[in-house]
């Protein structure tokens, strides 16, 4: 079993945002990692798949699942940070203007929901009705169709909107968020049985994340033209460089792969957001993160 392919559960279909991840996978493969991947429609499914042992390693931020279910799930790498942007019509100029106003978010209990909770707390405001539309691109469509005046969307969609119709919308200034949006996690028992694979994987990720911070264009250069990213329609591929340049600049990716720092930020964030119970300071990092592979890779 341990010698077989490791099974990776993605939380979305391969697209520009996953290009860096696939570059890392290619590097890991060159170092002897044997893998296969499956895309799920959302992160909850990926978590479920790892929980039930059908997948080895998954995408997402499974804090709630870790606290509630008896399964020993641990995070090993922070893939991206919660870089989301409140985008509104010209009606609003700053976050405080949204007090009592309706807002459109991804899903109840999801990342954008927690961002909204934290905004409420930090700005001391209260949003009006929250409506939920999964998928940033769908929220962009709703925004452009005038069905909502305020939403929270991810970096690439923010860039898209502002490129198409920058004159009609505002990106509200936001405080910095260090918490994880996507992280790589797996069952602790599995990790221990496959220590070597995990190490190769985390090292590859870390090296890509660091190289990318130096030069975002390595992603498009290293992308395998026959891989899942290389096969995307040219309309999408053409934007890779632009996307990663903006992402690195916007601090979407942590060149250190998260670790202790990210764990603390997450506890703080997800406790405020209501996904973790209890006082953040009493939570133990080793109950949620398994830091050994990252430490080994940083050495």
């Amino acid at each position: 079993e341990a010698a077989g392919k490791i099974k990776i559960a993605l939380a979305e279909t391969p697209s520009d945002e996953l290009a860096a991840f696939f570059v890392a996978l290619d590097r890991a493969k060159a170092n002897g990692l044997d893998y296969e991947w499956t895309a799920f429609s959302d992160e909850e499914l990926a978590i479920q798949a790892v929980l039930s042992g059908q997948m080895d390693i998954g995408f997402g931020t499974p804090y709630a699942a870790m606290q509630r279910s008896k399964a020993p799930i641990r995070i090993v790498f922070q893939l991206s940070k919660l870089k989301f942007f409140p985008v509104t019509s010209k009606k609003y100029g700053k976050l405080e203007d949204l007090n009592g106003e309706p807002i459109m978010l991804h899903s109840r209990g999801g990342g954008t929901d927690s961002i909204a909770n934290v905004i409420e707390e930090k700005m001391n405001i209260k949003f009006g009705d929250r409506s939920y539309v999964p998928g940033s691109s769908n929220r962009v469509a709703a925004l452009m169709a005038g069905q909502t005046d305020a939403t929270i969307i991810d970096l690439s969609n923010k860039n898209k909107v502002m490129k198409i119709a920058g004159d009609k919308f505002n990106v509200l200034p936001m405080f910095e968020v260090e918490a994880s949006d996507e992280a790589l996690f797996a069952n602790l028992d599995w990790i221990k049985n496959n220590e070597e694979d995990v190490n190769i994987f985390v090292s590859a990720l870390l090296s890509v994340w660091q190289d990318m911070t130096e030069d975002p264009s390595i992603i498009s250069r290293e992308t395998d033209p026959n891989g899942p990213i290389g096969q995307l329609p040219p309309e999408i591929l053409g934007n890779l460089d632009e996307f990663y340049a903006a992402a690195v600049q916007g601090g979407l990716y942590d060149p250190d792969g998260g670790g202790l720092k990210a764990a603390q930020a997450d506890f703080d964030w997800y406790a405020r957001a209501g996904q973790l119970e209890g006082d953040p300071s009493t939570l133990k990092v080793e109950d949620f993160w398994y830091l050994a592979p990252l430490e080994q890779a940083s050495r």
């Binding site: 039930s52 899903s107 109840r108 999964p134 769908n138």
Partner: protein
């Protein structure tokens, strides 16, 4: 006979729920609760009212969509069945619609009609309508010619022939279309709540899943299936009530 079939139902239900309970106890997966856990979650949600507010939300697009599909679908079906011109023009549309995997269209609907009631009603209609229209049209076309002739020979007017002969004669097939349509409508409503905006029962399912409250998720799934089955039984009652003579016994008895 009635007693036996009743007991068979009970026994088969017990077997199924028992299997569920056992599978949950093994457990098959951390994400698979037992039957009893799920039922207590159901009771909890029913007691604190979550379930009812959720269904208020879910039933709105469903009822509106099913009502629209039923009226429009039967009307269009009658029309298509009666006029060869409309048959030519419209039935291919519904045949294509029936064959189409409309789940894929949902993102488009969201873009076109937003996330409100409209697009959910639309999803329900799109799922439910084709089978209602096609069944009605087929049944109307297949009305026994001799009954229509009988009506004419006893001087029925055209509207009378439609109301008193064609519709009742077509009613079993229309109702089976309605049944399939309503069930497709339920699928559409749940799909809309899973893929468009998580409200109502779809919200309970996705939210429970995101906070890893699996018993609640299974309870919600169980309740919607139960509701669909109850709804369809109601429809069957209605059919029996409206067209008593259509109920014939077992062919084999």
């Amino acid at each position: 006979m009635v007693r036996r079939s009743f007991w068979l139902k009970i026994v088969s239900a017990l077997v199924l729920f028992g299997a569920w309970q056992v599978a949950g106890m093994i457990p098959v997966s951390y994400a698979f609760p037992t039957f009893l856990e799920s039922m207590s979650a159901l009771a909890r949600m029913a007691a604190d009212g979550t379930l009812f507010t959720a269904y208020l939300e879910t039933l709105r697009p469903l009822v509106v969509g099913v009502a629209i599909s039923a009226f429009l679908g039967i009307g269009l079906g009658l029309w298509i069945g009666l006029s060869s011109r409309f048959d030519w023009l419209f039935s291919p549309i519904f045949i294509v619609m029936q064959a189409a995997p409309l789940a894929a269209l949902i993102p488009l609907l969201v873009m076109a009609y937003g996330i409100g009631l409209t697009s959910k009603v639309f999803v329900v209609c799109i799922m439910a309508m084709p089978v209602i229209v096609l069944n009605t049209a087929g049944a109307v076309r297949n009305t026994p010619a001799s009954l229509k002739e009988m009506g004419r020979s006893f001087l029925a007017s055209d509207p009378e022939i439609i109301v008193k002969i064609i519709v009742p004669a077509a009613s079993p097939v229309i109702f089976s279309g309605l049944r399939l349509g309503v069930s497709a409508g339920f699928i559409g409503a749940v799909l809309a709540e899973l893929k468009i905006t998580p409200t109502g029962v779809g919200d309970i399912i996705t939210y429970s899943r995101s906070i890893a409250d699996y018993p609640a998720m299974y309870a919600a799934i169980f309740s919607i299936i139960l509701l669909a089955v109850l709804f369809l039984n109601l429809l069957e009652r209605l059919e029996v009530y409206l067209f008593e003579g259509n109920v014939r016994g077992y062919a084999s008895d």
